[in-house]
Structures are given as structure tokens and as C-alpha cells.
Amino acid sequence: MTPCAIEVADLRVVLGGRAVLTLDRCSLPAGDLAVILGPNGAGKSTLLKVILGLVRPASGTVRVLGEEVTRLTGKGLCRLHRRIGYVPQGLGGGGPVPLTVREVVAIGRTGRAGLLRRLDGRDWQLVDLWIERLGLSHVALCQYGETSGGEQRKTLIAKAMVQEPEMLLLDEPTANLDLAWREHLVAALDHLHATTRLTTVLVCHELEVVPPSCRRVVLLAGGTVVAAGCPEDVLVGERLAAIYGAGLEVMRQGERFALVPGTARRTG
């Protein structure tokens, strides 16, 4: 049996005196690609932060890569973070600092390398390899802040991948991207999972972002799991209309899904 990369049980997260996430049981086998889907405020990003140990639950157990996250502090949390490639929602680099794309990607090697050790030839080789794999070679020496939103997202994915992570967590990686860049990114993530078989958790609120190779979707709404399973079972018209609003229908083409207004080809 494939070992579990993530196991969550009896989870309850309270923020500002309000329960924002309640989960009975949820697990993800190593090597799977899972998508956590749901409308704004469903608790998707909170769940990712709980998995990373950035948000402490009021109760429950959270095992990630064999570690009980709720018991980790300081150094233990740092060690776990080195094993997880995390791409947060924010693009970072908000200040005026002229770091190059290559330097931003190298941040991923920094934690791995450890304190008081310079990045060596192998570190930089990995940095250049992922820059090339994600099609960023033409902007490698450009200032990060001067590249496009899509290039910045890919830079952050490259940063996460040079960590040589055992798991990849992406929080709304297509936010603020136009359709073309969104498609580039979905294809890149799909290819990445197909070639590396890296345990991947992708958080999003659009069905269009679910990569074709995804076989596990967790649908969250109001801080609880509404449905979980393979995309064709979970992404059902009536269920999504109840969450996202009446008059919306699910359109399926091959392994891709979309939520559209009006009449369209129904799933199933």
C-alpha cells in the first residue's frame, strides 16, 4: 500500500473566535496529485497553512511526510519546510530590490544548503536546470519585479522545485493570470507531475485549473468537506451550482473541466 504523504484527522481550526475549518478525516497517498477546490472563504488556504504548520489547529492531528506537524516548532518546522516546496498566493518581492529571477529561484536551495555554507556548483546547476525546464532561460538574469505575472509564478514554482521537495503545495498559482498564462501553467504542472510523480496539492477555486492528470479532488465549502474523490464524481453540476450559485453548469472536455453559465454539455 502506498504510504500517506498527508493524513488529517478530527481537525478544527479557529481564527478570530470563529471555526473556519472542520475536517473529520482526509488523506493523500504519496505520489498523488490532489486539487483542493472551493469558493472564496472555504478554508482552502487555511488547510494548506495547517499542513505547513503555519496555522495551529484548535484540535486534531496533522501528519505530513511522517511528522506530526502540530507538535513541531522552530527547527523541526524548518526541517519540514525544507522537504516541502510551497508556492504561496503572494508573488513576493514587493519591495524595490533588484533580485534577478535566477537569484529568486536560488532561494529554494538556501534552506537546503544550511547556514554558513555557500551555494556550490551543484546548487547552481539545479537552479539553471529548473529555469530551463520551466522556460525561464530568457529572463534568468532579468530583474524579478520586471517580469510578467506568469513568469513570476513560474519562477516561484522553480524556486520550490530546486528544493528537491518530497511534496509540492501550490496556493492558487493561476491567480491574476490571463487565459494563455493559466493554460501554460496548468500544462506545466501536469507535465511536472507526470515526469516527477511528486506528491502535489493544488489549491484553486476554478475548475479550469484542475490538471488532466489529477485523480483526486477535495471540494470545500464553508470550512467543511462537501465531497472528495475523482474529478468526474466530485465535479457534478448540481453540487457545484449549490456552492457557486444557481445557473452554472459543469462542462467537461476530455480530462478538463469548466464551470460555465447557461446551458452546456453536462457531466456524466
Binding site: L52, G74, K75, C78, R79, L80, H81, R82, R83, I84, Y86, P88, G90, G92, G93, G94, G95, P96, V97, P98, L99, T100, E103, V104, A106, I107, G108, T110, G111, R112, A113, L115, L116, R118, L119, L141, C142, Q143, Y144, L156, K159, Q163
Partner: protein, 275 residues
């Protein structure tokens, strides 16, 4: 000009410019330029209460350093999420608190009928009366900063980009961030007594702002900011000697002029790159 008399002043201006210029890359890059003024007032508050307790001269540096380091420590350890504010909101709180304490102490001098000249010189500085002993203290602060940036350069690059991203990459951000803030408070405080709290602010902001206009890459930006800071300190002093105008004002004007020149150069480069 009496070079033997003025040489410690020249070296002090250059060292203060270089060290604060390098610090500025982090302070301006992380959008907390207010830190300079906040630490200056905390140091002043420390010196005021040190003086009220009977300390004088160089000994005032000790309470000034302690107060500045305590302020930096408070900033580093405060949880911005729990306090529902960002670093600048916390800086505002610390700044108003340290300024209130400093002025309360200054008020006590007149109540007690004592002179506050010793502590007021901390705020304005006295570059022209700087001696080799002061330069040695400033050099020690600059060397400490240089050693820290060399040892933890790659981690500071990540923190400069984003503390959240650095933390996500498994970098022990909290320890490094707090150490950096305390080191910053020490470097700024040892420079206050010669350069003055107000001029420090321009040396923190201007060389870094100029370097950002013309540089690409972390190491180069740090080097250029330190170089422009040194040029501001040295150039300002030489300009003052030539024109017989106040040294502090000339250093501020030279550093501001460098920002203008860098902005023009950066604009020309970008226009050339587009064409």
C-alpha cells in the same frame, strides 16, 4: 586644510556612509525606512535616562545601545499577524513610545535644573569633532555588519525578497531577522554620536535608493549602495571643506544628488534597452 586633524572625520564619514548604505539595501528593500528614525529616538531615550542616572560622555553610548537594541528586539519579536498590523505600524508604535520617553527625559533635565547638552549632541551628531576612538567604534560596528552579511548573505537575500517565502524554504527567518535588527540598531547607534540621528536617515535611504536605480542583482546592489554611501560621506565632507558650508547638510545634499543622477542613468539605460 589640516589633514592630520581632519583625517578621522574623513574616515568616519566614509565608514558611516558605507555601513549605513549597505544597511539601507535591506531597510529600504523591506520597506521599513522608518526604522532609522525609530532607533535614533530609542537611542536618544536611552542616553537621556543614562544621563539622568549620572552617566556622561562616551559612557552614554551604553544606555543608548541598550535602548536601541531593545527596540529592535521588540520589533523583531512582535507577531505582526497577531497584532493585526504590519512592521511599519509596529514601528510607529515603538517610535512614538521612544520619542515620548526621550522628551519626558529631556523635560526632566529642566525640572531638575541640569544641562542636556550631552544628550542633544547625540541627535544632531558632531562629525567635525570626531576622533580616532570614535572611528574605532564605528569600524567595529561596520565590521560586525560586514561579517554578518558575508556569513548569512544567502539567507538575507531570501529574507530581503520575502520573509514568508524565506520561511517556506526552510530558512530560520526569526533568528536571523532578530539578529539583523539588533545589529542594525548597534551600527546606527554607534554612528549617531558622530553623524547624528537625522543625517543617518538620509544615508540609510539615499544610497540604497540610488543603487536600486542602476543595479541588477543582490551582491552588486549591496556593493554599489555601500560605495555610494561612502561617496556621500566623503564627498559631502570635501564639498563642505571647499564651500565652508555645514558638513551634515552637504552630506545629505550629495547623497540626494546621487539618487537624482542614478535615476537619470537608470532611465537612460531602460530606454536604451527598450529601443
Amino acid at each position: 586644510m589640516d589633514w592630520i586633524y581632519w583625517s578621522p572625520v574623513l574616515v568616519a564619514g566614509t565608514v558611516a556612509g558605507a555601513s549605513t548604505g549597505m544597511l539601507g539595501v535591506f531597510i529600504v528593500g523591506m520597506r521599513i525606512p522608518f526604522l532609522g528614525v525609530c532607533v535614533a529616538h530609542a537611542a536618544l531615550a536611552g542616553a537621556v535616562f543614562g544621563s539622568l542616572a549620572g552617566l556622561e560622555g562616551q559612557a552614554l553610548l551604553v544606555p543608548a545601545l541598550l535602548a536601541a537594541a531593545a527596540t529592535a528586539l521588540a520589533l523583531g519579536l512582535m507577531d505582526t499577524e497577531r497584532l493585526r498590523g504590519d512592521s511599519n505600524a509596529i514601528l510607529s508604535l515603538l517610535f512614538s513610545l521612544s520619542m515620548g520617553l526621550a522628551f519626558l527625559g529631556l523635560g526632566l533635565f529642566s525640572v531638575l535644573g541640569r544641562s542636556d547638552n550631552d544628550v542633544r549632541s547625540l541627535l544632531w551628531g558632531s562629525l567635525t569633532f570626531c576622533r580616532w576612538r570614535d572611528v574605532a567604534v564605528m569600524l567595529a560596528g561596520a565590521a560586525g555588519l560586514g561579517a554578518f552579511v558575508l556569513a548569512f548573505g544567502k539567507e538575507m537575500r531570501a529574507i530581503l525578497f520575502s520573509r514568508a517565502h524565506a520561511s517556506a524554504a526552510g530558512i530560520p527567518v526569526m533568528g536571523l531577522w532578530v539578529t539583523f535588527l539588533v545589529l542594525t540598531s548597534v551600527v546606527l547607534t554607534v554612528n549617531f554620536q558622530t553623524v547624528g540621528g537625522l543625517m543617518i536617515y538620509s544615508l540609510l535611504a539615499n544610497p540604497a535608493a540610488a543603487a536600486f536605480q542602476v543595479c541588477r542583482g543582490y551582491a552588486r546592489t549591496l556593493g554599489v549602495a555601500a560605495g555610494l554611501g561612502a561617496a556621500s560621506g566623503l564627498g559631502g565632507f570635501l564639498a563642505a571643506a571647499l564651500t565652508d558650508l555645514p558638513v551634515g547638510a552637504m552630506i545629505v545634499l550629495v547623497s540626494a544628488g546621487l539618487v537624482g543622477a542614478a535615476a537619470l542613468l537608470g532611465r537612460r539605460r531602460r530606454a536604451r534597452a527598450v529601443s
